[in-house]
Symmetry: C2
Subunit: 212 residues, 2 copies
């Protein structure tokens, strides 16, 4: 089976949200056209994305909302709870501990680290901040699945190296710097400025930008 592109994985996330919302609304079935229009893509794209994982729909009948949601959830690993640690309890880190979109999808942050003695031992949104000095040890003891790194750029690579030494296999990096990780460790970079720059592009070139 061929590798799945990031774009497909991102779209699967969006389809999952659409399906969860429809399920909450009591909707039983959905067509690829409806899925497409709610996600700003074509129906052909929806069918192609879902076909990577086998055929879930029936021609003319559409998809069963509950089944498709469960299937995408299983594929994406959203039907389980991951052990998530935060490194860096600054402005962004604090916001993430309490971030609904993490909590409701199985990514609740239950462990946090900081190097600032003024923060260590404090409890923030129910999570007690640990001393970053014990990062490798605690990451290993607590069997952390995913580490969210929200520290200044200059500190990020060294902290990621220590997380990897502690056995962490997945890193979500908020620091504005490219981080190197060994084979077998997954890393994704989050930059909240990318979308505001897309708006800047759209306002600068209204005729070239994708419609609103």
């Amino acid at each position: 089976m061929q590798r799945i592109s990031d774009s497909t994985v991102h779209r699967l996330s969006k389809y999952y949200r659409t399906l969860r919302h429809m399920q909450e609304m009591g909707v039983k079935t959905v067509s690829s056209e409806e899925m497409a229009s709610r996600n700003g893509v074509t129906a052909a794209q929806v069918r192609k994305d879902l076909s990577c994982f086998g055929a879930f729909g029936r021609r003319g009948l559409g998809y069963n909302v509950a089944d498709l949601k469960r299937n995408i959830g299983r594929i994406m690993g959203l039907e389980r709870t991951w052990k998530v640690a935060l490194v860096g309890v600054g402005n962004i880190g604090r916001a993430l501990i309490d971030y609904d979109q993490f909590r409701t999808q199985g990514f609740q942050i239950t462990i946090a680290f900081d190097s600032d003695p003024a923060k260590v031992g404090k409890t923030i949104h129910g999570v007690t901040v640990r001393d970053e000095a014990n990062l490798e040890r605690d990451a290993a003891t607590e069997k952390v699945d995913i580490a969210v790194v929200a520290v200044p750029a200059a500190a990020a690579q060294a902290l990621v190296d220590r997380l990897v030494a502690g056995g962490v296999k997945a890193i979500l990096n908020f620091a504005p710097i490219n981080i190197k990780v060994p084979d077998g460790v997954f890393i994704r970079h989050e930059n909240m400025a990318i979308e505001i720059e897309a708006l800047s592009f759209a306002m600068t070139n209204p005729k070239l930008a994708r419609g609103s």
Copy 2:
């Protein structure tokens, strides 16, 4: 000229960062291969993206770092300062007021609104919180270019409608809900859970995921 895809716009953002970093390091020229390897894409993709806007490089000589940065900056509207207002001074809003990646790219938040009387009048990272009751009026008076909406899902559509009534043409939405805007208004949605879900997918399907 055909419309530019979101993916291309996102890559231009990344190229701009790479070029800014190289310029700071004193690098004078860069090949499409080097740009590609620093951004996890192919050299052909780099050349294709840049060719949308005319030919900046010379075969065999690569791109002049300062020229290419200035050109992409101009295309993306990053060479100017936008007037950015924040609506919703919660955890995420507070983090954004002080977010380096906004500030250094011309997107400093200088106006903020909240409906909570306990927050109105308070100054946070140098920005005094205004009463949301005056949203339309103040958005118009202050000629806000971009509004960053960081409020609960249930409140988001009504607030965006009021921003649009106040003349705002670009919205960056952090609320986990699809927002409708009229033609001529641009909106982008930011969901910080998308990348952590990509990590969840990668750990659930290590053989299908893109390499780290």
